[in-house]
């Protein structure tokens, strides 16, 4: 029998101690809430910001002038993050962003490491720049310490595996204690739950190194947990069909393409894009942000491969780039380059487009970070109607925490006895016991690879691939079959492999939700290409598609984007 080892009570439960989660926890605690963070790993080094980051999108009036709309326009129309925004949320984010930047600075995160506000990288020549260059190498340790100072309880090695709802509102969650080899369960009773579980990786075949599913730019622990769990309790998901694809060094998946200072070139030396023809410290080469499919396109059209050529860098700019990579958390890659004798001053590194994943696609939120289920909030990379990466996670994490912490009575709490007695708790316990007690079953990795092969073939993401109703319907059938196979045959031998097995089941749910949304979007809007609807329907350009589960049925709804000011 798997024990319920502990029962916790909190006013606000934060799921995931990444950038969004820690900011939510700090803000809620400042408002007087009893806050508990349930973190899969250790909040000092977890999530996609674990090793660092170096760009924080924000609006700093003393640099950008008094009109926030100038930056709103840039984010929505000139950045790689602006595709799926409710513009109202963009405005809310940018108006609060300076305050959060200054908070980070006051906590000791270097936001002006050169002594002044510096906006470099991910930029166009001659246009306003909004990516603040900062040094985020220690950001997670700093935020963890700030959370603890405010009395936040952080439970590390405690991934939430199921959300609990009663009478239509949040009641808490079940978490899996993976701190010891033998797994155990915890129940957390909380009327407000803030999700910050990051992007969804491991959903598609790894395109850099097939078979190496942890070779990823974003944190491989981010397996769509919050999205899947929220989907299961009926929360609205939005823009799920609009999968993203990141890009960077070929075969060695890393973030930080905006940190490289070079020119993307064809083998004949011609630049891919029109923006720079020599390394430019202020801008970088934004070609791959704008022309998302570039690296795939040039492999198909005979002109590739494409290289990042930094050979024209001045010594000062080279030092600046290498410092930026360290801030971005790329020390592991730099060490590898050193050992392999790869010197960006002499060598041009090939770049590629990585496999599809979900970032800025997922939970629908309002301006306070609230989701459609009362008491549920979300922030960061898992949100579906807003995306601004680190800055977005920090600011909307704060907004959600602040709101949840100052509206503690908005959803009345259930007692821990009531929460522990919810039928769902027993169901989760039985599922975990079955997986642990089964001998000689299917290891999680087989299940995860099976999800990936189905998603890659039946819900492909552009360029040069297309979805169709036939493929998506077949994919839904196969994912349903796979779920049954996994439920009846998956086995685990310890807390770690049980955690991965449950992640695999979450990925099946995320994949299904994505396919339902992709079926409903009967148009082509890259990267969502439909072989059976090849045109882009302007009527849908002002709308967002949401999907949710209601009593076993899939509800798909279109709504207008919120453009209010």
């Amino acid at each position: 029998m798997m024990e319920i080892k502990n029962v916790y009570e909190a006013d606000v439960l934060v799921v995931g101690g990444g950038v969004a989660g820690l900011m939510a926890a700090i803000a809620a605690a400042e408002k007087g809430a009893r806050v508990l963070v349930a973190e899969k790993a250790d909040s000092r080094r977890s999530g996609s910001g674990a090793a660092g980051n170096d760009h924080f999108r924000c609006y700093i009036p003393e640099c950008h002038g008094p009109d926030v709309e100038r930056i709103v326009y840039e984010v929505l129309h000139f950045s790689q993050v602006g595709q799926c925004h409710d513009p109202h949320l963009t405005r809310v984010f940018l108006r609060r962003s300076e305050e959060i930047v200054r908070k980070w600075e006051s906590w000791g995160i270097p936001m002006r490491p050169t002594g002044q506000w510096e906006f470099t990288g991910h930029a166009y020549p001659g246009r306003v720049r909004s990516g603040l260059k900062y040094d985020g190498k220690k950001q997670k340790a700093v935020m963890t310490s700030e959370a603890k100072k405010r009395g936040v309880t952080i439970l590390n090695h405690m991934p939430v595996i199921e959300l609990l709802k009663k009478d239509g509102r949040m009641a808490g969650a079940v978490a899996l204690d993976v701190s010891a080899e033998e797994p155990s369960l915890c129940v957390i009773a909380a009327p407000s739950v803030i999700l910050g579980t990051g992007c969804t990786t491991r959903l598609y075949n790894n395109m850099a190194t097939p078979g190496w599913m942890f070779n990823l730019a974003y944190c491989p622990s981010n397996a769509g947990g919050g999205i899947a769990q929220a989907w299961r309790i009926g929360a609205k998901l939005v823009n799920l069909e609009m999968t993203s694809r990141h890009a960077g060094p070929k075969y060695f998946q890393r973030c930080g393409k905006g940190t490289w200072i070079g020119v993307l070139r064809y083998p004949d030396g011609e630049p891919l894009g029109p923006f720079v023809d020599k390394p430019d410290r202020a801008c970088g080469d934004i070609t791959s942000d704008v022309w998302n499919s570039s690296f795939t396109d040039v492999m198909k059209n005979g002109r590739g491969p494409a290289y990042m050529d930094c050979s024209g860098l001045t010594p000062e700019d080279y030092d600046y780039m290498m410092w930026g990579m360290d801030s971005e958390g790329l020390k592991g890659m730099l060490n590898y380059m050193d050992e392999a004798g790869i010197d960006p001053r002499r060598h041009a590194v090939e770049f590629m487009q990585y496999e599809p994943f979900l970032i800025g696609k997922g939970l629908e939120i309002d301006e306070h970070g609230r989701c459609s289920v009362p008491g549920l909030y979300a922030a960061g990379d898992m949100v579906g109607n807003f995306r601004a990466d680190i800055g977005g996670a920090a600011v909307f994490g704060w907004i959600a925490g602040e709101y949840a912490g100052s509206h503690i009575g908005e959803n009345a709490a259930f007692s821990d006895e009531v929460v522990c007695a919810l039928p769902h708790v027993a169901e989760v316990r039985v599922l975990c016991e079955k997986i642990m007690n089964r001998v000689g079953g299917c290891p999680w990795k087989e299940g995860n690879l099976a999800v990936q092969q189905i998603m890659t073939d039946y819900a492909p993401s552009g360029p040069h691939t297309a979805r169709s109703a036939n493929l998506l319907n077949a994919g839904l059938k196969y994912l349903g079959d796979l779920r049954q196979t996994l439920l009846s045959s998956m086995s685990a031998t310890c807390s770690h492999t049980l955690m991965r097995a449950l992640e695999t089941l979450d990925l099946v749910d995320v994949g299904e939700a994505l396919m339902h949304a992709a079926l409903e979007r009967r148009e082509t809007r890259p990267p969502h290409n439909r072989a059976d609807f090849t045109f882009t329907n302007p009527m849908l350009g002002e709308l967002f598609l949401t999907v949710r589960k209601e009593e076993g049925n899939i509800v798909k709804e279109w709504r207008k984007k919120d453009n209010s000011r």
Partner: protein
């Protein structure tokens, strides 16, 4: 498999096992002196363990398929001029 801990240098503090974002390590403090990277295939190569190890006892071995393919930057020019040796 990555990461690799030097047992001579390792002080057995368990920091790596505690902080790894993908939980590559197992460490039974009572029975063993050094954490074991038992889920090495799940390493993200984020370098956090290397950086946080107070004894400097950890290095990463990057798997061969992760090879960062590259060329000499001065070959990025039209094929004809390369042929001419320029």
């Amino acid at each position: 498999m990555p990461p690799i801990i030097d047992p001579e240098k390792c002080k057995g503090c368990g920091t790596c096992a505690q902080i790894c974002p993908v939980q590559v390590f197992r460490f039974h403090r009572a029975e063993e002196k050094t954490p074991r990277p038992v889920f090495g295939e799940e390493c993200w190569h984020c370098n956090c363990c290397v950086e946080d190890c107070p004894a400097g006892a950890i290095r990463l071995r990057v798997p061969v398929p992760y090879m960062m393919v590259h060329v000499d930057a001065d070959t990025l020019k039209p094929a004809r001029s390369r042929h001419d040796g320029n």
